[in-house]
Symmetry: C2
Subunit: 324 residues, 2 copies
């Protein structure tokens, strides 16, 4: 096994070598723009790590691994259009820097590019890899649609929320782990354990993300705190606050949610205090702990060598405990 940054650098190099055409410029420049922004490259790194942990051929895993990163960036690009997001990774989003049409069409091209890359999976597991990839893609669209549906609903349950983040965020991490295992010629049962590890890691990761928006340090988190609260975003926290608040807390929460003229900072401070009074920080940590445990259980059941086990264990604990 290598240290995490070595897998990330392999992914970065492969992305830099994608060698896209240059014309028509408005189709290809946005793809280069988003793919060259520095990122954690978690998805391709997971594929490479899973493959390496089973002694698979890393070179064979590299192109399929990059397919997942291109796909992930395509979903961000289209999500940013749908969410009218202006900034991503500190840079203007594609639809802001160019326009909506450019963002739609270059996103489409990225999805087809991802399909081309996944089609280069070695023949012995190509069919499984392509089916896994397409199934994952469909689930991610379903997750995004549920997320948008939740915007206008006031009765979203914690279970529905967990299912939404499972689809929108976590299945791609499960897919990344399983893909690496398949390329290392793992059998179906073993490949599915890798999937479970990635899936539960992904749920813990997203729940932690919800926490960081409220209690994160803006300097290390890398984005402004309180965006979810300001936008009434149905997160694990808001859903649980709505379900649990009673008396004055319930009245106050309802007032902030229904006041379109609320001052952002006042609203963020007040809602955070309600979350604190309701013990939601502890509740979140417990939920993260549960999914973290499920990921570690899946890891343990794989009986990897000590070096591989420690590499995943450290990654899982880092992602559930991350401060950025």
């Amino acid at each position: 096994m290598k240290p995490y940054p070595a897998y990330r650098e392999m992914a970065d190099t492969a992305i830099a070598n994608l060698d896209l055409p240059t014309e028509p410029r408005q189709l290809y420049e946005p793809i280069t723009y988003v793919m060259s922004q520095p990122g954690k490259r978690i998805r391709p790194a997971l594929t490479l790590m899973a493959c390496d942990a089973l002694g698979g051929n890393l070179e064979a895993a590299l192109t399929p691994a990059i397919a997942l990163e291109v796909f992930h960036n395509f979903t961000l690009l289209h999500d940013d259009v749908m969410d009218r997001a202006d900034i991503r990774r500190g840079q203007p989003t594609v639809h802001r820097r160019w326009n909506d049409n450019v963002a739609i069409l270059s996103g489409d091209a990225m999805l087809t590019l991802a399909n081309r890359l996944i089609a280069q999976t070695p023949a012995y597991c190509r069919e499984q890899a392509v089916n896994l990839f397409n199934q994952t893609a469909i689930e991610i669209y379903e997750g995004q649609q549920w997320d948008m549906d939740f915007e206008t609903r006031h009765d979203v349950s914690e279970q529905e929320y967990i299912n939404m983040i499972r689809l929108k965020t976590s299945v791609l991490l499960g897919c990344a782990c399983k893909l690496g295992a398949l390329i290392a010629r793992a059998d179906a049962a073993r490949a599915d354990k890798f999937y479970q590890m990635g899936l539960n890691l992904g749920i813990a990761f997203q729940l932690k993300d919800d926490m960081l928006d409220v209690w994160g340090d803006p300097d290390t988190f890398g984005k402004e705190i309180g965006g979810d609260i300001a936008n009434n975003k149905k997160t694990f926290l808001l859903i649980n606050a709505t379900a649990r608040a009673t008396g004055d807390d319930a009245d106050e929460l309802r007032r902030w949610l229904n006041d379109p003229y609320a001052l952002r900072d006042q609203k963020v401070t007040a809602v955070t205090e309600i979350y604190n009074r309701l013990g939601l920080r502890q509740l979140s940590l417990e939920a993260i702990g549960r999914y973290n445990r499920l990921a570690l259980d899946a890891l343990e059941s794989l009986n990897l060598n000590i070096e591989a086990r420690q590499a995943f264990e450290s990654l899982i604990n880092q992602m559930a405990g991350r401060d950025k």
Copy 2:
């Protein structure tokens, strides 16, 4: 060989049997909505015809054929968002009936659905089929981007225009024909002749479409006449008119193009008269004849049996001479 409607009906039945999930509703309803609108199903019909002409297995060709129809409808869906089109096949477009976000996301899901279907091509030619499909998809996005680029340019040449419609429209018809040939186990040279037949048929088809917008009968054409003229759309006709008009015609054409307050009907009538004076109807017919000839040459070089040859010949002549 069967009569054309039999291939169309095979495609219609397979589309009706796609058996999509129902939830989340806003993701899947638009897909059912666009796929169930009646259409000519030219692309899957071409795949089935090409396969049948070579004695291939039609059942094996059906799912890949439908992949092309789903893909084609995905491009229409996203193009309609980009072009702000309100009506398609007499019905409100998806972004009008729902909204832009629904149109973007359900379009993405259609592209992944098309990928799933093309991945079900029989194993003996799957790799070729998938590569052909992905290459065609990329070319279509390039064509759409060139088409949007042309909107703000005033120096588009006929050659650039032909290249744009080759990418945006014709490569998918080439792909459809070649795909059927591959499934019928044609060798590379023969499959490429099918591609050339479909490609040139597609160029003739689009040039005829440009003509119908000006000289078509609105009752049989199925959409309003003059839309391209009203919108200053860079068609074969406008590009040639700009290049060929001199003296008063050039002045008048420039005036209509630059008058944002022109009355639609007056503009359409006046520009049509300029086209008539410049002999552009004849020029278009000659160009269509050239591409029609190339398609027929490719067909002839295939040495198909008389029944298959006549079926394609009649289709090619119909599509270049169609009045709707």
